[in-house]
C-alpha cells in the first residue's frame, strides 16, 4: 500500500528538479548558476542529519526498553543516513570546485566534520559486526551511537561557528538568508528539504521492513 506522504515526497523532488533548474535565481559573483545547488546539496545533508537523529532516538529507546525492534530501526536509519552522505559529499565537492576552486579543502571545519561523521558511522557498523549476540549488540552499539552522535554534533554544529569557515553562516561569513536567500530561492528550497526528508523516510521504511522480515526468518 502506498501512503500519501510517499507520493508527496516523490512529487516534491520532481518539482525541485524541474523547477529548480528553471526558476530565476539571484545573479551573484563567483556563485553564478551554481547557487541552484542549494536545492540539492543542503536538503540532502538535512535528510542525512534527520536520519542520524532517528537512529539516535531509537538507540535511546532501545536502552530504555531493551527491545530488538528499536535496535533494527536504529541500525537501518544509520545506514540510510550514511547512504545520504554520499550524494551530499559529491554535490558538495562539485560546488566547492566551481566556487572555491578545489574539490576538497582541509581548511574548512564543516568538510572535516563530515569526513569524521562518515568515519564515526563506519566505526559503528564495524562495532556492530564484531558482536554476535543480538541483545548484547543492540545495547553496546546503542551506547556508541549516542556518544558518537553527541561528539559529531559538537564537531559539525559548534566548532565551525567558532573557527574560520568557507561555508555561509560560519566564522563571520554572512548567513545565506541575509543576502541571497530571496523568495524565489525559498519557493524551491523549503519543498526540497521536505521532499528529501520524506524520500529518506521512504527508503528507511522499505529497509526496515526488509530487516524485520530477515529477523523473523532467522528466528524461525
Amino acid at each position: 500500500m502506498i501512503k500519501w506522504w510517499k507520493i508527496l515526497g516523490a512529487l516534491l523532488i520532481l518539482y525541485t528538479i524541474v523547477w529548480g533548474l528553471q526558476n530565476s535565481v539571484p545573479r551573484l559573483d563567483i556563485l553564478n548558476e551554481t547557487i541552484r545547488n542549494v536545492y540539492y546539496h543542503v536538503p540532502i545533508w538535512f535528510a542525512m542529519l534527520f536520519q542520524m537523529g532517528v537512529s539516535v532516538w531509537f538507540a535511546i529507546k532501545q536502552l530504555s526498553k531493551n527491545d530488538l525492534k528499536s535496535d533494527i530501526l536504529s541500525d537501518q536509519a544509520a545506514q540510510v543516513g550514511l547512504f545520504f552522505s554520499i550524494p551530499g559529499l559529491l554535490t558538495g565537492c562539485m560546488w566547492a570546485k566551481f566556487t572555491w576552486g578545489t574539490w576538497w579543502t582541509f581548511e574548512d571545519p564543516k568538510l572535516n566534520g563530515v569526513a569524521i561523521a562518515v568515519l564515526i558511522y563506519l566505526a559503528y557498523f564495524i562495532l556492530r559486526s564484531s558482536i554476535i549476540d543480538e541483545l548484547k549488540r543492540a545495547r553496546i552499539s546503542a551506547v556508541y551511537n549516542i556518544f558518537a552522535f553527541v561528539m559529531m554534533n559538537v564537531f559539525i554544529m559548534i566548532l565551525p561557528r567558532l573557527t574560520d569557515s568557507l561555508h555561509p553562516g560560519n566564522g563571520g561569513n554572512a548567513k545565506f538568508a541575509q543576502y541571497d536567500m530571496d523568495s524565489s530561492l525559498r519557493t524551491v528550497f523549503y519543498p526540497a528539504v521536505i521532499g528529501w526528508v520524506l524520500i529518506s523516510l521512504w527508503i528507511l521504511d522499505i529497509k526496515h521492513r526488509m530487516a524485520l522480515l530477515k529477523h523473523k526468518q532467522n528466528e524461525d
Partner: protein, 219 residues
C-alpha cells in the same frame, strides 16, 4: 549489590597498577622510544605547526595504548565479581579518575622528553600546561568509555583505535588549536574561548560516560 565507597575503588586501581610495575615501566619506555625515534627522524624541527602536530600524534597513540588496557583486564569472572560488589557509577568514575591522573602525568612526561630531545618552542608555558591537563582529562573520559565498549566486543586493540579516533577528533582539534596559541605566545584573552570549550567538552564527555556506562554494565 553491596556498595563499596568510591575512594576504595580508586585505591584499588592504583594498587593493581603498582603491583604490576612492568606495565608502568612499559609505558615509560614506550614514551621515551617514540619521542627518541621522532627526534632521530626529524633531527631539528623549526616549524611550530609541525612541532605541535607531531606532539599530539605521539600523545594520541600513547593514550590509546595506555587506556585500551583499562578494561581489557576485566575478564568474565572478574566482571561478575564487579557486578555484585560495585556500583556502576562508582566503577566508571574510579576508572576515569585513575585514567585522568595517569594521563595527566604521562602528558607531562611526554612533554618533558619531547622538549628535551626535539627542543621546546612554547612561549606561554602556563597556558600550554593547562591545555595539556584539560585535554588529557577529556581524553581519559572518552577513552575509558571506548575501552569499556571494546572490551564488551571482540576485545582487540584495533577495534579500540577504530572506535576512538573519530570520536576524539573534535577534542584533538581544539587542543591543537589551543596549544598552537600557547606556542605562539598569544595573550590569554585570545585563547580563553578555546580553553572554555575544552573544559565544557570535559563535562560533556564525563557526564555521557557515567550515564551510558550503566547500560554496558549488565550482561
Amino acid at each position: 549489590m553491596i556498595s563499596v565507597p568510591l575512594t576504595h575503588l580508586i585505591k584499588k586501581e592504583f594498587l593493581i597498577e603498582f603491583r604490576q610495575k612492568s606495565t608502568l615501566a612499559g609505558i615509560f619506555v614506550y614514551i621515551i622510544s617514540t619521542v627518541f625515534v621522532s627526534a632521530l627522524c626529524f633531527k631539528k624541527i623549526i616549524n611550530p605547526t609541525v612541532w605541535n602536530a607531531l606532539f599530539w600524534v605521539i600523545f594520541l597513540f600513547i593514550t590509546i595504548n595506555v587506556s585500551s588496557k583499562s578494561f581489557l583486564q576485566e575478564t568474565k569472572g572478574k566482571g561478575l565479581f564487579n557486578y555484585i560488589y560495585y556500583n556502576p557509577r562508582h566503577f566508571i568514575i574510579s576508572k576515569i579518575i585513575y585514567n585522568m591522573l595517569l594521563m595527566a602525568t604521562l602528558s607531562l612526561l611526554t612533554f618533558f622528553f619531547y622538549s628535551w630531545f626535539v627542543g621546546s618552542m612554547v612561549q606561554n608555558m602556563g597556558m600550554y600546561l593547562l591545555c595539556l591537563l584539560f585535554s588529557s582529562t577529556a581524553f581519559s573520559g572518552v577513552l575509558s568509555l571506548m575501552s569499556a565498549i571494546a572490551s564488551k566486543a571482540s576485545n582487540n586493540i584495533s577495534l579500540m583505535a577504530i572506535l576512538s579516533f573519530p570520536v576524539l577528533m573534535p577534542l584533538i582539534l581544539v587542543s591543537v588549536k589551543l596549544s598552537k596559541f600557547a606556542i605562539d605566545g598569544l595573550a590569554w584573552s585570545v585563547s580563553f574561548k578555546y580553553l572554555l570549550i575544552l573544559v565544557m567538552l570535559n563535562f560533556v564527555v564525563i557526564a555521557l560516560a557515567t550515564l551510558l556506562f550503566n547500560y554496558l554494565w549488565k550482561d
